[in-house]
């Protein structure tokens, strides 16, 4: 574990890695698992060591909205925030692949802040990255229409998986963008006519 930790979190000091090994636990999830749900009580922070996960915001009436992905080497800023106040989660997290996490309890999270410079910097870095990501999310919904948001969404997915095929149904895309399946079908069809994508069953091939 030490080696993989050092690889995934290269900025962590040796002492910090030592502490993590001694005190933190590991948790695994299968692809598709709901790892955290809105309203759930949280008192630890999660570091991603393997796999990829999606973080959603949920509306009162059951709507969902994809905010960002988390990759190995990253941490969930929302879990840090909630953990700090020992609050309930304001987001839902779903495993995209099989995921492995390091669980850091609140007490340690605060203790390390003063003891390990590399932890402190990691926390600040995490806030910063997520904050910037959220700014982009705000941009997208505030300034762009659904067609542009869809294009952006597809590009992000293709970047995340490193290939030109997005293996999602129209229904799943609609959920992530908080709209309806029909709207997505309509817009995808237009994109196909413009030669941007090739539509297949259960996956979309990006051209160009």
């Amino acid at each position: 574990m030490q080696d993989s930790l050092k690889k995934t979190f290269p900025t962590f000091s040796n002492e910090l890695i030592q502490e993590i090994q001694e005190h933190a636990s590991i948790q695994s999830f299968k692809a598709g698992d709901v790892m955290m749900r809105t309203g759930q009580y949280i008192n630890n922070t999660m570091l991603v060591t393997k796999g990829q996960l999606k973080v959603f915001r949920e509306g009162e009436n059951g709507g969902e909205f994809l905010m960002y992905f988390l990759q190995p080497g990253q941490a969930c800023a929302v879990s840090m925030i909630c953990a700090t106040k020992s609050q309930t989660s304001q987001i839902t997290a779903v495993a995209v692949d099989d995921v492995e996490l390091i669980i850091v309890p609140l007490s340690l999270m605060e203790k390390w802040m003063m003891e390990h410079r590399s932890w402190n910097e990691f926390v600040i870095y995490t806030y910063r990255i997520r904050f910037e990501e959220l700014l982009e999310v705000v941009d997208n919904i505030a300034f762009r229409a659904m067609d542009e948001r869809l294009e952006f969404y597809l590009k992000r997915h293709s970047d995340a998986c490193g290939c030109k095929d997005v293996k999602l149904s129209h229904q799943e895309i609609a959920r992530d963008l908080n709209t309806s399946r029909e709207v997505i079908s309509r817009l995808l069809k237009k994109m196909e006519q413009r030669g941007l994508v090739q539509l297949h069953r259960n996956h979309i091939e990006l051209l160009n």
Copy 2:
């Protein structure tokens, strides 16, 4: 200045306040001044000591979008982010009242992080508060229609000024919500018919 600093930032240690007095400078703005513009180069963090300011996100095509207010005792999280990377600003800030700021250069900002626990906690706290605020913003635009967003906007303004009168033209409101004046007029008229507000020239009175 020492007393007012201590009052506005009660969590700061005496040593930190001492350092601020020695090294930081003060800057003033008049109501309506644009304090920071998208694209401007930033290498310091700003702490609000007096007055109130609005923070906007700007779209490519000239649109604006109000994200949050900053009050005395708070700091601009975006300026922290940009300062950390010595980047250009991704937001626009406008003074609502006459505003007074403490300017903390990047070098000190980083130095204090390790030297002053109260500064470190303040930075974390600032990220946390702004992050939560941004989550609310995302909620509003992702899950709510313009009429609800308008109601929320008016309530926020009335809270901010502590009175039941919002002294804004329809045009200004439209800019803040990134829509058109006509839409705001229309929705306000409906609110008036529902007995929620009383419309006057250049200000809106909240009832109930």
